[in-house]
Symmetry: C2
Subunit: 388 residues, 2 copies
């Protein structure tokens, strides 16, 4: 059949900045970014959508932003700072997504203007999706406020909302124009939220960087004690590994391989089953423990290394398993979750396991009996394991 071949490449570039006190008047970094971004003669407007819990924890933030843009004028601030709830709720209820679109329309935010989101991964996902589709893409700036979003989801290229009760059913691959990680936001996090974000650092170290895993082991106490320089290093290294992965073979996930989903297949199901009462990082920590022990049982990572992984997870303060992760029969939720994950990937299962610390390996089948045994070991025998 006769045809014309189309082929072109699109270059995507953005910076993930690291700062402290982003909207302090003396900190010109944000304004400098806007001033340097694009040479269009158009007026650049900027709209802020902020997690209401972040506003509550940082009661001066809205005024601080207004003052900042009254002095630093690279962009024209939309004076209304939009407050919205954070958490999974904001991705479940389409009304929040629609409201962001409505505000983009109301304030004539165009392709040369900015929609900035301040908050955790959920609000960044939702606002990022709205920004990606309004006018086929207005400029989106992410200001993640949690450990999890600063080191992982916030620096990536995905956005989404839930739909038909399915996580991330709607979304796009559209990078932000910039990410600003401000360590001051970490100060107001609860211990539980703070800890939760460390799971993704453990995950990425296990599949990409053994030295980073060793660093995590050596610095576990400082992380638990919320030592800020230690956390800043963790976030930067984790973000860097994440960014490098995206820039690798398949930024927009055209293939089936999802190495960064290590430990996630069971975690997604657990979050859903507990109605997100188990936090994402908590679920991922359990998922990592499960897939690590499974990796050992299926002849991959050594028992010594598996023990080091489980022990690090425990040392950070995570639970290592959950009753809903137990296999009690063919219809156990976790096996249904595995089936759903297979369907989500389009029929061919691809699961990342561990060859050893720092080296992952993809498999296309998982054995239900070994999943069961891995769960039992985590539940019953981890005293033995951790005694090694």
């Amino acid at each position: 059949m006769e045809y014309l071949q189309q082929s072109f490449s699109v270059r995507f570039e953005y910076k993930t900045f690291f700062t402290s006190g982003l909207f302090e008047l003396s900190n010109t970094g944000f304004n400098d970014f806007i001033a340097a971004d694009s040479t269009s003669a158009s007026i650049k407007k900027i709209l802020f959508v902020v997690d209401q819990d972040v506003l509550k924890a940082n009661p001066k933030l809205a005024d601080q932003i207004r003052r900042y843009f009254s002095i630093h004028k690279a962009a024209q601030l939309i004076p209304e700072i939009i407050a919205m709830p954070g958490g999974e709720l904001i991705k479940n209820d389409e009304g929040f997504f629609s409201r962001v679109l409505q505000i983009i329309n109301q304030y004539n935010i165009d392709r040369h203007s900015y929609v900035a989101a301040i908050g955790g991964g959920s609000i960044l996902d939702m606002v990022g999706y709205a920004a990606a589709v309004a006018h086929r893409g207005v400029k989106h700036i992410r200001i993640p406020t949690t450990v999890l979003s600063q080191n992982d989801s916030g620096v990536g290229v995905k956005n989404s909302i839930n739909y038909f009760g399915k996580k991330n059913f709607l979304g796009t691959f559209v990078p932000p124009v910039a990410v600003f990680n401000d360590d001051q936001f970490l100060l107001t996090l609860s211990d539980r939220d703070y800890r939760s974000g460390i799971a993704e650092a453990i995950k990425v170290s296990l599949i990409k960087d053994a030295a980073f895993f060793e660093w995590l082991e050596a610095n576990a106490d400082a992380l638990v004690a919320r030592d800020m320089p230690t956390m800043k290093y963790l976030i930067k290294r984790c973000a860097e590994l994440h960014l490098n992965h995206i820039a690798g073979l398949d930024p927009f996930e055209k293939g089936s391989s999802r190495p960064l989903d290590f430990g996630h297949w069971s975690a997604h199901k657990l979050e859903q089953l507990t109605n997100f009462k188990v936090l994402h990082g908590e679920a991922v920590a359990m998922g990592i423990a499960l897939d690590t022990v499974y990796s050992n049982l299926s002849g991959r990572i050594s028992v010594d290394e598996a023990n080091r992984v489980v022990n690090l997870i425990k040392k950070i303060g995570f639970e290592i398993t959950h009753p809903l992760l137990e296999v009690t029969g063919d219809d156990s939720p976790i096996l249904i979750g595995l089936q759903e994950f297979r369907e989500h990937l389009g029929g061919e299962l691809t699961i990342m396991l561990l060859e050893r610390i720092g080296v992952g390996i993809e498999v296309h089948e998982m054995d239900a009996q070994l999943i069961k045994k891995a769960g039992e070991i985590l539940k019953n025998e981890h005293a033995a394991l951790s005694a090694v």
Copy 2:
């Protein structure tokens, strides 16, 4: 401010096929494409969404598709062929978009499966948008059935729906995985629809390819007579120029320049004001005439060449102006349309004019008095112009 630099390129490739009788059993091109596309072990499903007027004009089409996939099995056909209205209506009412999402969900269409749309530009835009955001992108195949969509919008990388009463307010830049142009669909078009698509060929010739313009002049009679080989050449050359343009500097329109929007700023307003009773191509033909005469009045294209442009538009059978394009005062709809276009572009106006046939030039201001005079010339004096 400290930062990590992210940069990567994403390669986009797709073919625009030209065929006759796409779903005839002997034509294996479509099946060959699916069989060769991706090496995933997953089952590939395919869902068809078809313009109901196309189904009416081609009453055997649905059965033909079912028979085709019962013999050629590279993809598993979803037996339900979804019929939807064509035209702008389908982009205005979000219900159609939601229904496509619901069907994608219902039949578990995933990233390795296909949503094919058969119809004109509007239904391709809407279905393409749904496919782009479901699961962050399922594979989308376009089968354009009109001259306009086969030579222009159908081969491009944009999709959209209207929202808040604004044309294309929501959408993405996501290329299809393939386009199939089947000339058999052109046989059932009305003369008006058939003619309408020729406007984009005139447009692209004027800004890109003087030789193609001369070919259009030489073949105007054959086009009016609906000679098929002539139309096939027109569609292929126009699609090629369009594809080459996209593959050029700015596929996803990050800048303000929109050369392919030559003649479109007034056309968009006219379509909207007439509630799309004036077809897109008809409005574009008038928009080209206006901007061509304006180009002459503002010291660019010669009067001889401007006359050739207007005469070709007339010879194809288009009207060259419309009462709603007249400037009668500062609040004339066309001047409001110009203002809206400026806002749509983000404050800086960029309008393509003609330096000469085949060579465009961008300007950032338009003179209301010259727009008025151009309209008057088209209305009153074109007899004189065309006598040259």
